[in-house]
C-alpha cells in the first residue's frame, strides 16, 4: 500500500526532494563530500523556481549552522546538510540550536574524520555529536532518507518538541546509491506536515530576548528542563511514525528487528550496512542458526524501553560499530548497549566489533564471521575486535 511515485533515485536527491516537498523556507549550504549532491540539487530547485526558498551559500559550515539559527529563530522552516569535518566545524553551534529549541533539520551524510583525510563513510562524525541535544535518526536506504527528512520537520517543529533533528545517511553507501523508491505526493506531505508555527519568533511586534546568559542560579534548571523536554520528545517521535504509517504506509519504529522473535543471538547494527547484515542473517537462518538482527533507527533520544524489550529474550548481543572510541574498551554503540543493559535481569552477554571505517566495505561474510566469533567471545571479550584489518 506504499504511496507515491515509483522512481529510481540517488539517496541525496531523495533528501533534496523531501526538502522541496516540505516547502522549506531557508537552505544554508556549504559543500562537503559526500553531502554535496543534496545542496547542489536544492540549489537547482531554487534556481529553477521549483522551490521558493532563500538559499544562503555561506562561507563555512560554522556559518551554515549559524545562518540556520537566525532563520529558524524568525520562524522560517530551515534546512542544511553536512558531513564529517563540516559537522565538526558546526559543533559549537549545534548545542545552540538544541538548547535554544530551534527546529532545524539537517541531513548528515556520515563521513570519517581526518587525519588521514578521508571523504568516505563511517560514523565517527555522528559519535562526536551524539550528546549535542539533537534528535538523531538513521536512514537505512533511500526510501527512509526521503521519508525521514520531511518526517523530521514535523517532529522538530511540533510545539511539544522544538528540537533540531539530524537525519543520518551513510556517506556513499546511501548518499550516492541510486535505488528504487516512492517519491511521496505533495498532497500527502501537506496532510502530514502542518506549516511551521514557531511559538516565539523574533519579530518587532512581539519582542523576545533569545539566548540570554545563564548565571549559576539558573543554568542548572535550564539544562534539566532541556533534558526533560528532550526525553519527552519521544512521544511525538512515535506519534510522527504512527501518523506517517496512516498516510504513507510504511511503519517506522525507533528499533527495528529482523528474524528476532526466537533468536538467541542478535546482531545490532545502525545505518545502511544493516541491509548487508540482513543478508548474513538470512544465510545463517538457512543453516538453522537462531540468529536475528536489531537495527537502531532512533539514536537520540536513545529508545531505552524499546531496546530493552527487543533484547529481552536474547542471550548474546553482537554490536557492530562504524566508529572508534579512543581510549574506551568497545565501540560507541556498544557502550550505549552495555549501559542500557547494566543491572537488567538476564543480562545478555555482549561482543563488540568495529569495521567499515573510512569507507571500508563490510561484506555479508564478515557479518557472519562477527556473529559466529561473537557467540564465542561474548562476555569474555575485554576489548573490541576490528574487522577486515590487515595486521
Amino acid at each position: 500500500m506504499a504511496k507515491g511515485k515509483r522512481v529510481g533515485m540517488e539517496g541525496s536527491i531523495a533528501i533534496a526532494e523531501a526538502v522541496k516537498l516540505a516547502d522549506t523556507d531557508v537552505v544554508a549550504a556549504y559543500p562537503i563530500t559526500p553531502q554535496t549532491h543534496i545542496v547542489e540539487s536544492l540549489a537547482e530547485m531554487v534556481a529553477n523556481g521549483e522551490l521558493d526558498a532563500e538559499y544562503i551559500p555561506v562561507e563555512s559550515e560554522h556559518s551554515a549552522m549559524s545562518a540556520c539559527l537566525g532563520s529558524s529563530a524568525v520562524g522560517a522552516r530551515t534546512f542544511t546538510a553536512t558531513a564529517g569535518q563540516g559537522l565538526e566545524l558546526m559543533h559549537e553551534a549545534l548545542y545552540i540550536a538544541a538548547s535554544s529549541r530551534l527546529p532545524i533539520v539537517m541531513a548528515v551524510a556520515n563521513r570519517a574524520l581526518s587525519a588521514p583525510l578521508s571523504v568516505w563513510g563511517d560514523h565517527s562524525d555522528v559519535m562526536a555529536v551524539r550528546e549535542t541535544g539533537w534528535i538523531q535518526v538513521f536512514a537505512e536506504n533511500g526510501q527512509e532518507a526521503h521519508d525521514l527528512t520531511f518526517w523530521a520537520f514535523r517532529v522538530a517543529e511540533d510545539p511539544e518538541v522544538l528540537f533540531p533533528v539530524m537525519v543520518h545517511v551513510d556517506g556513499f553507501n546511501l548518499s550516492h546509491v541510486t535505488e528504487p523508491l516512492f517519491l511521496r505526493d505533495k498532497a500527502d506531505v501537506d496532510k502530514f506536515l502542518p506549516p511551521n508555527k514557531y511559538p516565539t519568533p523574533l519579530h518587532p511586534d512581539k519582542p523576545v530576548t533569545m539566548g540570554a546568559f545563564g548565571p549559576p542560579a539558573i543554568y542548572t534548571e535550564t539544562k534539566k528542563a532541556q533534558d526533560v523536554a528532550f526525553m519527552k520528545s519521544k512521544k511525538t517521535i512515535l506519534k510522527g511514525f504512527k501518523e506517517f504509517a496512516k498516510i504513507f504506509g510504511p511503519t517506522y519504529s525507533p528499533i527495528e528487528t529482523y528474524q528476532a522473535e526466537d533468536a538467541d543471538t542478535l546482531l545490532i547494527t545502525m545505518g545502511s550496512l544493516s541491509e548487508t547484515a540482513s543478508v548474513a542473517i538470512d544465510t545463517m537462518r538457512k543453516a538453522g542458526k537462531k540468529v536475528g538482527q536489531l537495527k537502531i533507527r532512533l539514536w537520540r533520544p536513545f529508545p531505552l524501553d524499546e531496546f530493552r524489550k527487543a533484547v529481552s529474550n536474547a542471550k548474546t548481543l553482537i554490536v557492530f560499530d562504524r566508529a572508534l572510541a579512543f581510549g574506551g574498551q568497545v565501540g560507541p554503540v556498544c557502550s550505549e548497549v552495555k549501559s542500557a543493559l547494566y543491572g537488567e535481569a538476564n543480562m545478555p552477554k555482549v561482543a563488540s566489533f568495529i569495521g567499515g571505517l573510512g569507507g571500508r566495505d563490510v561484506t555479508a561474510k564478515e557479518f557472519e564471521y562477527m556473529i559466529t566469533q561473537g557467540m564465542k567471545v561474548a562476555g569474555k571479550q575485554t576489548e573490541y575486535e576490528m574487522i577486515g584489518v590487515r595486521e
Binding site: 519579530h203 530576548t209 540570554a212
Partner: protein, 313 residues
C-alpha cells in the same frame, strides 16, 4: 506608534529607550552609551543579533533583559551569519505571505574581537553575499569582557593582559587592524565610523546604514574606561580627543566615495595617549612614532576624500 521626542538644538530625538537602563555595564562605559544611541537611531523595527562580549553579558543575565526589541545571542564568532539567517528568513516569509510585509532591519552588533578576529570570516562572508543588513562593530580596542586581552584592533603601544608591558615589551607591538577599510574593500554600499562622543553624527550614520539597501558596516569607537585605565567620567572626553587628534577620524564611504564628517586641526596625539593608563609607559620616542603614523594615516584618508570629490574624467 507616536513617539515622544525632545529637542536638542535643531534636532529632535526620541525619548524612547530601546536599550533599557538597569544593565550591568561598568560605570561610565562608552560602549553602553553608544549602544543606547544606536538603538534610538534604529527604532523598534529591528531584529538584533548580538555577539558574545560585553554588550551581551551586561544586558542579558537570565531572567532579565535590557532589550525592548527582538534580540538574539548565539555565539562569539557567528553574528554576521546569524544576521544573514534572520534577514533571509524574514524576507522569504514575507514573500510567501507567512508574515505581513513590513520593513524589519536585521542588525548585527559585536565587539572588536568578535569583528576583526574570530568573527572576521563570517562577517566577510555576509558582506560578500550582499545581505540587506547592518553590522555595527563596537570597538573598545581589546577583549574587554574576558578582562582586557589584546585583539587585532588594539592599537600599537597599548598595554593589555596578553600583550603586557614588561622589561622586553611595550605592550601591543602590532598596528590596529583597519576594519572600516576592509569593509570598504568588500565593495558594499555604506561604511562609516562613529563615536558616542559625537552622538548626532553616530545616530545619523546608524540610521543611514539601516536605510541603505544591501550590507552596511558601522565602526563605532567605544571608550572603555576600565580597560583604558581612565577615570569613569572621562569616556566622552577621551572619545572626543581620539577624533580631534586624528587617532579615530569620523568619515563615511558611500558607494566607494569617502567623506570626512569632522575635519579638525589635529591636536597632538600625546594629549590623547597621556590621558590613559594603558599608554602610561610609552617613551617620548614611542609617542613620536605613534604621532607619525597617525599623521600619515590621516593624510592617506584625506587623499581618498579628495579623490572622491574630484570630478571624474
Amino acid at each position: 506608534m507616536t513617539q515622544a521626542t525632545v529637542k536638542i538644538g535643531k534636532r529632535e530625538i526620541t525619548t524612547d529607550e530601546l536599550f533599557a537602563s538597569g544593565h550591568r555595564g561598568c560605570i561610565g562605559c562608552g560602549e553602553m552609551l553608544a549602544v543606547r544611541l544606536t538603538m534610538k537611531a534604529l527604532g523598534r523595527d529591528v531584529v538584533i543579533s548580538n555577539a558574545t562580549g560585553c554588550i551581551e553579558i551586561v544586558s542579558s543575565p537570565l531572567p532579565t533583559t535590557s532589550w525592548e526589541v527582538p534580540w538574539i545571542h548565539t555565539l562569539f564568532e557567528n553574528t554576521a551569519a546569524v544576521a544573514s539567517g534572520v534577514e533571509s528568513g524574514l524576507k522569504v516569509m514575507m514573500r510567501k505571505g507567512r508574515i505581513p510585509q513590513k520593513q524589519i532591519h536585521s542588525i548585527a552588533i559585536a565587539g572588536d574581537g568578535a569583528t576583526s578576529d574570530i568573527g572576521f570570516q563570517a562577517l566577510s562572508g555576509a558582506l560578500e553575499r550582499g545581505h540587506d543588513f547592518v553590522y555595527i562593530c563596537f570597538d573598545n580596542e581589546a577583549y574587554m569582557n574576558t578582562g582586557i586581552q589584546r585583539s587585532s584592533s588594539t592599537p600599537y603601544g597599548a598595554s593589555t593582559t596578553t600583550a603586557p608591558v614588561g622589561k622586553k615589551s611595550i605592550g601591543q607591538t602590532t598596528q590596529k587592524k583597519n576594519m572600516p577599510e576592509i569593509a570598504v574593500a568588500h565593495g558594499i554600499p555604506y561604511v562609516a565610523t562613529a563615536c558616542a562622543s559625537y552622538p548626532f553624527d553616530l545616530m545619523e550614520k546608524v540610521k543611514k546604514a539601516a536605510d541603505v539597501k544591501g550590507p552596511a558596516y558601522v565602526h563605532v569607537f567605544s571608550v572603555c574606561d576600565t580597560g583604558w585605565r581612565i577615570p569613569t567620567n572621562q569616556s566622552v572626553a577621551v572619545g572626543r580627543m581620539a577624533v580631534q587628534s586624528g587617532v579615530f577620524p569620523l568619515y563615511e564611504v558611500e558607494n566607494g566615495k569617502y567623506k570626512l564628517n569632522i575635519d579638525p586641526t589635529l591636536k597632538p596625539v600625546a594629549d590623547y595617549l597621556k590621558k590613559q593608563g594603558r599608554f602610561r609607559h610609552l617613551s617620548d620616542a614611542e609617542i613620536q612614532k605613534i604621532q607619525e603614523r597617525v599623521t600619515s594615516e590621516y593624510a592617506k584618508l584625506k587623499e581618498k576624500v579628495a579623490r572622491s570629490q574630484a570630478p571624474s574624467a
